[in-house]
Symmetry: C2
Amino acid sequence: FNLNLMVVGESGLGKSTLVSTLFNMPMYGPKEKKDPGAEVPKTVNVKTVSAEIDEGGVRLRLTVIDTPGFGDFVNNSDSWKPIVEDIDRRFDAYLEDENKVHRSMSNDNRIHACIYFIQPTGHSLKPLDILVMKKLHQKVNLVPVIAKSDTMTEEEIITFKHRILEDIKHQEIEIFEPPRYENDDEETLVENAEIMASVPFAIVGSTQLVATPDGRSVRGRSYPWGVIEVDNEEHCDFVKLRQLIIRNHLEELRERTANVLYENYRTDKLTS
Amino acid sequence: FNLNLMVVGESGLGKSTLVSTLFNMPMYGPKEKKDPGAEVPKTVNVKTVSAEIDEGGVRLRLTVIDTPGFGDFVNNSDSWKPIVEDIDRRFDAYLEDENKVHRSMSNDNRIHACIYFIQPTGHSLKPLDILVMKKLHQKVNLVPVIAKSDTMTEEEIITFKHRILEDIKHQEIEIFEPPRYENDDEETLVENAEIMASVPFAIVGSTQLVATPDGRSVRGRSYPWGVIEVDNEEHCDFVKLRQLIIRNHLEELRERTANVLYENYRTDKLTS
Ligand SMILES: Nc1nc2c(ncn2[C@@H]2O[C@H](COP(=O)(O)OP(=O)(O)O)[C@@H](O)[C@H]2O)c(=O)[nH]1
Ligand SMILES: Nc1nc2c(ncn2[C@@H]2O[C@H](COP(=O)(O)OP(=O)(O)O)[C@@H](O)[C@H]2O)c(=O)[nH]1
């Protein structure tokens, strides 16, 4: 099994932390601190990191495609381009392999899901969010999340989620929704409905263990006024994001990429 | 006494809330929710709102100059221009008044301080921050703050402040520092030193009263994992910001504007 996950969002929204949290292991080396004099890169970079992980007894090869620089410039008009180029390049590579006489389709390097990080402003989607999500939504399974949601109170999250979904609907942006199966059991249907009802997921990431006031040791963030627990569903939707991506819908993400997104790309490419 | 305070920062960094918190009264009407279809303004607006407030027995006419739209576009290359134009326009108006035969210099509409809101990324200043602060620092008393600092743990704040000060030094950005007087008493010297040691202030804003676990009613934000108190110096630097702007250094802010920033502007203008 392999899963190719892209993360997109401005610097400082907790992307690296979230990836490490999702897979319960540090996915990146310690961040190299750029000193004040360092050259700021002029374009968006695309960086890949892979790891073998064990997910409930199943071996998973996880590849994370990061997009440092996105949204960080004074002028971000072109910052979506290297991202779309990377997705297309992977589709092209697959198309090329498919057309070979002797082919081995064992390696699927296409992007199976893109986690898009929304800044927790409390207002609505930003022009850049809308621009980029429209460029991506028909090429990749789009999973929008509210970054660093511990910035927001429960009420603010409810209002913000509502507003984001309104923006998404108004802008006709397609976000990933797992299909419902006739033969799913009641428990699965309920669980999946609960997961989808929380979209966009309000997430918090942390690989650090901290002590709660009642003495438990949990992954979380410790503030002078309290401890937020990453794996506590009362505190954030991290668990739901993890279920969607790794447990419940891993297969649907890969299938939709293969049967819908890739097929559309291929048809467009061959007919143009 | 009048104080003209400009606030600059991207949407969603808590500017409106902070202004209301500083003056302990709602400075703005309820925010009109733009619906998803609304036209997004193409340029930065400059909005002014005034109020008479009582500050420790002293009547203060406070004017807040807001800059909605700053930093919110896909391309922010020009978003600093309307801000600088506003500052210059006020200098020009003063210069014009000063040159009249019959003049009444009672009205000082020059900007006395500019609170610049830094997004709590945890990394360093953004290219836009540096660009704009360099445009502003010689025209206005610059007071940088870390917005929504309840997003960050105590350690993260220490690291971030250190890094921001490094960036500011490296970029030769001048931030407001109150002068020290020979005849200040020990207590004042100590208090001022403590204030300046906390720059850039890690602030949190709220006009809502919430109940703390131990039963007090305070201005703050209530999360499932705890309550952050705006006026608690263990939780954030809001009190220090308030002291700098309204109590301890109100006069220095106005004097530096008149004797240094305006004089430089006037000299440049008359010699060019
Ligand atoms: N409040 C909050 N801070 C976070 C969260 N995740 C990461 N951070 C902090 O935000 C800063 C930037 O995180 P990082 O993962 O490097 O962000 P990236 O630039 O998007 O990769 C660090 O100081 C993290 O500790 C979160 O869920 N909530
Ligand atoms: N975490 C946090 N949220 C805040 C703070 N101040 C304001 N907010 C919230 O952030 C959102 C945007 O605040 P607002 O004052 O409208 O920001 P503005 O767009 O910069 O004027 C609202 O949901 C506020 O309740 C703060 O200090 N910390």
